[in-house]
Amino acid sequence: MSAPPSFLRERAMAEEAGLRSRHPDAFRAHWRRRAGVVGGLGAALLLFVFALWDLDVSWGRVIGGIGRLGEFTELMFPPRFGTVERLWSYLHALVETVAIAFLGTLLAAILAAPFGFLAARNVVPQALFHFGLRRVLDTLRSVDTLIWALVWINVVGLGPFAGVLAIMSSDFGAFGKLFSEALEAADRKPVEGVVSAGGGPLHRVRFGLLPQVLPVVASQVLYFFESNTRSATIIGIVGAGGIGQHLYEQIKILEWGHVSFLVLLVLAAVFVIDAISARLRFAIIGQRTGV
């Protein structure tokens, strides 16, 4: 920042008493508001201290841990992958991770589409049904991907397919909710236009609602694909395929060079996918609003 002119400031400081008497409101202390802020912050701080005490966080542990973390970080450089065979198995796991995210997102979107319509208030105007379906979707959504992975492993066995199904299950609820919200936020006028031109219920959805919600939905699906690439990197921890398996093993055997290499692989993959998907999202939204 460049040095601002101090002329104004000098003039104001010289005349402070006059300013105070002419604008009492601007200088008054708002004790009530301050008490509220201080009270809120105090309560937050108390809870913070209580949490530190309850969770047994001590400075000794923190400092000791940070020291060890420093050692690990030193060992992480340079990142290495050992043999070429190892490298291939890592790359295969990386592609598998992307595959799990892609298929999981796609399946969830396809399955959730009809439920999104059913859960939208302006498509099925039935309060009790609406409430029930929303709660079911909420419940599916609040069970984490890792837990779903453990459940699906019982069904289809260890491996990436369980990961696909796990991502599908936890995203199904989220998509159902998002789709129905997109439908509810849609403008009613195009629908009325279709009705006034003699369109039936199917026409209403196809020409009145779909063109409005498709771009929104498509960009949300892409966004979830991005975030699922991150989720897919961890489900390997419970044995549901992807690069997480390797990551878990290498951390357990303290091979920090391999760990940093795997993390770099994940970072690279996520950045590439983010870039592609951001472009696609922009293209979809730009193209549709232009029409």
């Binding site: 104001a12 923190v62 595959a99 453990l150 069904v155 990436p160 395929g241 878990y248």
Partner: protein, 304 residues
């Protein structure tokens, strides 16, 4: 009204029609446009289908295995709701929630982990967001460095941080808190800096004109504009972190996840469902409460 209908008729009569040649050209152009768009859509579908096929092979997706074993899912879900004695869980809630005291304590621990993670990460994000926003960053290279740092923090999943921290700090809640805090800092830092980039720059110019340094400028010109949005995002993040903290126990980083994963691994079916019910209900309550608080906050902002 005869006059009006007359004017309608007159209007109908005066609508000009294009000469046939011109109209045909326009229609052709329109058809071409529609066809092009349709081709594009079909191409998109084809690409998605092709990718799905390739990835399906890679991910060993086997629909037949799913169909053949779908009975295991239904029987698994069915067993979740039956006690060891063979009774339905709803008929004997006391037996179902036999470990309620222990679980509630672990649930409280989970909430505290999420709270600490959100507060620590939120504070870090608060400081870094002003350095990462283009309009308030003191220098270009600092903006670049902070942005990359935040990106790394939010791209590495919190469980991976937790795995590393468990080795460094030992088992317990501390690694969970730190893992959540780092991930939260990355995620909130991005959202916060986007809020900062959208602020009105006039107050900043005003405060700067009085000769204020960087910190007072941010304190008096930027912070009052962004605080309610920041709080709203932090509340949203708290809800996400409660979900995250619930699975931290999977890798030994504290909270109720430890008991949950143990129950799943050892096939204590009714325990699994009891713990899941507790988690889902807690998450839903927090979801509702934070949504209320956020609407109140943003509503107050709109009123001002």
């Amino acid at each position: 009204m005869p006059g009006q209908s007359g004017s309608f008729a007159a209007m109908g009569a005066t609508v000009p029609t294009l000469p046939a040649g011109q109209a045909a050209a326009l229609i052709r152009a329109y058809d071409l446009q529609v066809a092009a768009r349709r081709r594009q859509t079909l191409l998109g579908f084809a690409v998605v289908a092709g990718l799905a096929l390739v990835f399906g092979v890679l991910a060993e997706a086997d629909p037949t295995k799913l169909v053949a074993n779908i009975g295991r899912l239904t029987s698994y879900v069915g067993r979740l709701f039956v006690l060891d004695s063979g009774q339905l869980v709803l008929l004997d809630p006391r037996e179902w929630f036999w470990g309620l005291g222990k679980w509630l304590k672990l649930l409280g621990e989970t909430l505290l982990i999420a709270y600490l993670g959100t507060v620590i990460g939120g504070l870090g994000a608060f400081v870094l967001s002003f350095l990462a926003a283009r309009n308030t960053a003191p220098s270009g290279w600092m903006c670049f460095v902070v942005r990359r740092f935040l990106e790394v923090c939010r791209t590495v999943p919190e469980i991976v941080f937790a795995l590393v921290f468990v080795v460094a700090f030992g088992l317990g809640a501390l690694p969970g808190v730190l893992a959540l805090a780092i991930h939260t800092m990355g995620a909130l830092g991005k959202l916060f800096s986007e809020v900062v980039e959208n602020i009105d720059m006039k107050p900043i110019d005003g405060v700067r004109a009085t000769g204020a340094a960087w910190i007072p400028t941010i304190r008096f010109a930027a912070v009052p504009q962004v605080l309610s949005n920041f709080t709203s995002y932090a509340l949203l993040r708290f809800e996400i972190n409660v979900r995250g903290a619930a699975i931290m126990g999977f890798v030994g980083a504290g909270g109720i996840g430890q008991d949950l994963v143990e129950a799943i691994r050892k096939f204590y079916y009714s325990d699994v469902s009891a713990i899941l019910v507790l988690i889902v209900v807690t998450v839903m309550c927090i979801d509702l409460a934070t949504e209320r608080a956020r609407h109140a906050l943003l509503g107050r902002e709109a009123d001002r």
